[in-house]
């Protein structure tokens, strides 16, 4: 799974969904709420001591709603290994690398692994 990479990334601000087609054929659909709740930056994870390569399990049950914190302002590629996201509240510290994004996939198959 370490070699799995996106072949297509599509951020749909109307549907509030980030869609990723992976090189192994898997499709992931991330609600913006989940992306924000799973922001991997040190501030959102409660300090550097809590930084891990995978998201915390609790982010899958957080309900944030349609608020500035979950409205995507900008998304950019970071080199060829990650994307960075800026939200409408100005938060822009999260860098979502491929490994983290794949671990954040909310589909039933991925959650049961």
């Amino acid at each position: 799974m370490n070699d799995v990479r996106p072949v297509q990334i599509r951020a749909n601000k109307s549907e509030r969904i980030l869609g990723i087609e992976w090189s192994d054929g898997h499709s992931s659909r991330y609600p913006f709420e989940l992306l924000r709740a799973g922001c991997p930056c040190a501030s959102c994870r409660g300090g550097h001591e809590n930084m891990r390569a995978e998201p915390d399990e609790e982010v899958f049950s957080v309900k944030l709603g349609d608020v500035p914190e979950t409205r995507l302002r900008k998304i950019e590629a970071v080199g060829a290994y990650a994307v960075s996201v800026e939200w409408e509240d100005g938060h822009h510290y999260g860098i979502y690398n491929w490994h983290y994004l794949r671990a954040l996939c909310p589909c039933e198959a991925c959650r049961q692994k």
Partner: protein, 150 residues
């Protein structure tokens, strides 16, 4: 003879430059990112406003039943060591900014506001202004002002 040599040299130079030009990508970053297709679909310009919390009217008391008020100092308690999330707004609808530690002391600088059945206060750590956010009063207890606040 001399003209032939010059012509041959010029042709070799031209061929070498052409091969070099084809071998070097015009922009390495573009080459890296070309591994995937990146698309952003914009949203309609009309956006919703956050709901789910209320701002107290001037007639409401600004001191809660547990004595917490703007200017007071509070301590996080009752989280069984897990700490308390301080959020960007006065409701659990807002994302956590950081985890306040059990027994950590904060100064109350705004509130109260009502959201998700909790009363919320805006707290600022007296020693680090960057540690600030909204916290539910359920896990706060009133303490005396620290004597060594700068």
């Amino acid at each position: 003879m001399l003209a032939g040599s010059v012509g041959l040299t010029a042709m070799l130079c031209f061929l070498c430059f052409g091969v070099f030009w084809l071998a070097v990508p015009s922009n390495p970053a573009e080459t890296d990112n070309a591994a995937f297709i990146f698309t952003v679909i914009p949203a309609p310009t009309l956006t919703a406003t956050p709901e789910g919390y209320l701002t107290p009217t001037p007639t409401q008391a600004l001191v809660s039943a547990d004595g917490i008020a703007v200017g007071a100092y509070v301590q996080i308690f009752g989280t069984e060591g897990q700490g308390l999330r301080l959020r960007s707004g006065p409701s659990t609808d807002f994302p956590p900014l950081f985890l306040g530690l059990e027994a950590e002391v904060f100064k109350v600088e705004d509130g109260p506001k009502l959201g998700n059945t909790y009363t919320w206060w805006y707290l600022v750590a007296p020693y680090d202004k960057t540690r600030s956010g909204w916290a539910a009063s359920t896990y706060l207890s009133l303490v005396e002002a620290p004597t060594d606040v700068p």
